[in-house]
């Protein structure tokens, strides 16, 4: 794999990102209702002139296309603009909120791997047995239960049976690592469960697939120990699709975090995104979506890179 390949991939992703900026920009403006409507609410005290003045102050009086280029121009200079509702710097907002969502995402992925891969392996090894079927049912439930439902169940259960368990009240890891982990336990477990179900299924299928291949039979007949065959040979080859799914899910986590952060009162990016959409705070919405898109592009690149490590046959040229 060469350096030039990466450069090419990065250059190729620029048109993707540009296209996304345009779509996001237009989408948020196509939705009826704008920030001025939200400010006025149903209790209008403002005069016609004041309202027009507001549109002018926000730069919303200009034609769409010039609004887009003004935004793009400031993006290129690294300026994400300010929130229309509070006047805060959008870049500052992102920096404030990012650690929460990042921690939530990483812990969720951790949970999903810890739960998903072993269960998937067991399921594959005990194919079509009572154990396999039970795991499949659990996986199906996990896959089809919405996070807001599971989250609510956890909140209610924990508040009932564990009197001293703190569910709410975010503190940063640096401030109080133990409390921080306690606060993140339920939300990341809830989110992790959803993804665990996906990882479980893909692990099962891909393990069954590998275990039925000839090289596994050869390894067995060579007299290798069962564990060695499973972990060193079959599992390693089964990993490629598992990593793909995990990587894609990491992107989806940003979506899941919108619901979970609201439910568990965590001050992350998902919460900020929902709030900004509700208030039509265009610069904030645009910045967050743009950020997520860039993260997903980078993730895809990383996944490709990891393939080359796991499977030397893969050549990224």
């Amino acid at each position: 794999m060469s350096f030039s390949y990466f450069i090419r991939r990065i250059l190729l992703s620029i048109p993707t990102i540009l296209l996304v900026t345009l779509i996001v920009f237009l989408l948020v403006r196509l939705v009826p209702g704008d920030v001025v409507d939200m400010i006025i609410g149903t209790q209008n005290f403002l005069s016609e002139e004041q309202i027009l003045q507001m549109y002018e102050d926000f730069g919303l009086d200009k034609p769409l296309i010039s609004q887009y280029f003004i935004w793009l121009k400031s993006l290129v200079t690294g300026n994400l603009g300010v929130s229309l509702r509070t006047g805060e710097d959008v870049a500052d907002l992102l920096v404030q909120r990012l650690p929460v969502t990042l921690e939530l995402a990483l812990l969720s992925i951790l949970f999903s791997i810890i739960i998903g891969i072993p269960l998937g392996m067991i399921s594959a090894l005990k194919k079509n047995t009572y154990v396999d079927n039970s795991i499949k049912v659990v996986g199906l439930i996990g896959l089809s239960s919405p996070a807001f439902w599971i989250g609510t169940i956890f909140i209610v259960l924990f508040s009932f049976y564990f009197d001293n368990f703190t569910i709410f009240g975010y503190v940063s890891f640096i401030e109080n690592p133990l409390k921080n982990l306690q606060i993140f336990l339920l939300p990341s477990f809830t989110l992790g469960l959803m993804i665990a179900a996906q990882i479980l299924r893909i692990t099962r299928t891909s393990m069954i697939d590998e275990l039925s291949k000839d090289y596994v039979k050869v390894a067995h007949s060579k007299g290798l120990s069962k564990n060695k065959v499973i972990y060193k040979h079959a599992f390693r080859n089964a990993l490629t699709p598992i990593i793909t799914i995990t990587g894609i899910q990491l992107g989806y986590l940003f979506g899941g975090s919108i619901v979970i952060e609201n439910m568990f009162a965590l001050p992350g990016l998902g919460r900020l995104l929902l709030q900004s959409v509700n208030q039509r705070d265009y610069p904030v919405i645009q910045a967050i979506i743009l950020f997520i898109v860039i993260v997903i592009v980078i993730l895809n690149l990383l996944i490709d890179f990891i393939y080359t490590i796991i499977d030397p046959r893969v050549n990224l040229e």
Binding site: V31, G33, N44, F45, T86, I155, A265, P267, R271
Partner: protein, 500 residues
């Protein structure tokens, strides 16, 4: 003599201090996040809830919604065109600077400045001049004799006094606060919490009692209720009366206060057949308000006429209106008389917030009994506001904030030029009454005008006034002195304390 006085005052202070059980931290779970902190500019409900504890106006409300002095130690209305405020001498901003009469003047000039864009500017549009009389007194001269009507605006957080020096040195009040209130804002972590700390220089001795208040932003009701049950917070806002069922225990206190705000079914009075007042008042007869309160709010509400039933001396209570009787048969016969013997069909626009959608569903089922078919249009809030502003609806369910003054309650809503008259209601008699009521200095005459107006509004029914919900809060049993107000203000946090 002087020594004895000092000793005595120290003693009283010590005794008083102990008996008041000062101190402690109160954590409150609130639903929505504030949007900006400039008291003269904010419009978001959640911003008011924070700022009313950080800033002070010249006047404020007591627990029964009467106007009482605040930064002003007294106010006089020598004639209906003049208001004179005398300010206290011991008020300091949180940065240590003393509040002067210049700050008061500057605040109102700022509010009335078109460039600033304050939502309060409209209140003061009839102010002719503001004049500083001496270092303690300021005089407002009005173009029309409406001094008594104008007074309540001085208790609004939008009219809170800001520091001239602080604003002019370039501080952005939307981001930084510097008030005179019982608490100062020490921390704001967006999306998470706001911390207020005790202002030990507050101009009312011994207040506030709490050392610190932490407002935790928890958008989900279930999260707030659980956090209370779990002991993570001490006080929560309740939006869904059903939650009260899980708090029925001596460990919790429930606070309920009938709100001034009211639910309404508003009509587009220009669309067939809702442009006919008789059709609209027939709908009033076919709607069982009691049932709506029971089904939607589990009984946590009060049927209301055009003015909230608690607001004296202005209100006409609902039992005095014949249109408030639940009488579907009569409704049906009226519809037959005006040409709709088989009923008709119309849309109600709603959003899924504050139970709008649930109210629409109950009304839909009630009106089906007189053959009127209701289609519910459930839209997102931003879309709702957009269509609301453009009068793009047959009818809609909403919640209007109420007032203790009939001019504030009615003018902008029902005057043909009113800023929130999205019903396109146009009645020259109503316009005339509203204009007269605003200028009438004599209370008895004013009551007559607004009685006539309320009767017309119910008869013509450009909107149907449905009910006023209860403001609901719940706390741990050790929280003392908290009172929610009818305008949903949290101003009583300054008298709240934590019992051991």
């Amino acid at each position: 003599m002087k020594k004895i006085f000092v000793v005595l005052s120290v003693l009283t202070l010590v005794i008083f201090g102990f008996s008041q059980q000062n101190g402690g931290v109160l954590q409150i779970g609130i639903e929505t996040e504030p949007v900006g902190f400039d008291p003269n500019l904010v419009t978001a409900f959640a911003s008011f809830r924070i700022l009313e504890n950080v800033y002070d106006g010249l006047l404020k409300y007591d627990e029964n919604m009467n106007l009482v002095p605040n930064i002003a130690e007294k106010y006089e209305v020598p004639d209906p065109n003049t208001i004179i405020f005398t300010i206290r001498d011991n008020v300091y901003f949180h940065n240590g600077e003393k509040l002067t009469i210049e700050d008061v003047l500057y605040t109102f000039e700022r509010i009335m400045d078109e460039e600033v864009g304050s939502p309060a500017a409209a209140y003061y549009s009839e102010v002719e001049s503001i004049e500083v009389l001496d270092s303690k007194r300021i005089q407002f001269k009005l173009k029309v004799p409406m001094a008594n009507t104008l007074l309540i605006n001085f208790a609004s957080t939008n009219s809170a006094i800001v520091s001239k020096e602080f604003v002019e040195t370039g501080n952005n009040l939307q981001l930084k606060t510097n008030g005179t209130g019982p608490f100062f804002m020490s921390e704001y972590v967006p999306g998470d919490h706001i911390t207020l700390e005790k202002n030990s220089n507050y101009f009312i001795p011994n207040q506030p009692y709490l050392d610190k208040i932490i407002f935790r932003i928890m958008p989900e009701e279930i999260s707030r209720v659980t956090a209370l049950r779990n002991g993570d917070v001490d006080l929560i806002e309740i939006k869904e009366p059903l939650s009260l069922r899980s708090l029925q225990s001596n460990n919790y206190k429930v606070y309920r206060q009938p709100a001034l705000s009211y639910y309404l079914l508003g009509f587009n009075t220009t669309r067939e057949p809702l442009n006919n007042p008789r059709v609209r008042s027939a709908l009033s007869l076919a709607i069982d308000r009691e049932e709506i309160i029971n089904m939607v709010a589990f009984g946590e509400g009060t049927i209301t006429g055009p003015m909230n039933p608690t607001v004296q001396p202005w209100t006409i209570t609902p039992e005095n209106f014949e249109e408030y009787e639940y009488n579907p048969e009569k409704a049906k016969s009226i519809l037959a008389e005006v040409g709709y013997p088989n009923g008709f069909e119309f849309n109600i626009m709603t959003a899924s917030r504050y139970s709008f959608d649930k109210i629409a569903q109950v009304i839909q089922s009630q009106l089906s009994k007189i053959g009127v078919k209701v289609n519910i249009e459930l839209v997102e809030w931003g879309i709702f506001l957009n269509r609301w502003g453009g009068s793009d609806f047959d009818s809609f369910i909403s919640l209007n904030s109420g007032s203790i003054d009939p001019d504030v309650q009615f003018y902008r809503t029902f005057h043909s030029n009113g800023s929130t008259n999205v019903f396109l209601y146009n009645n020259s008699i109503v316009d005339k009454l509203l204009e007269e009521g605003r200028k009438e200095p004599n209370v008895v005459e004013r009551i007559k005008i607004y009685n006539q107006l309320q009767n017309i509004l119910v008869k013509e029914a450009p909107i149907l006034f449905l009910y006023s919900p209860n403001v609901l809060y719940a706390s741990q049993s050790y929280v003392e002195g908290f009172k929610p107000l009818a305008n949903e203000s949290l101003i009583f946090l300054r008298e709240t304390r934590i019992e051991e």
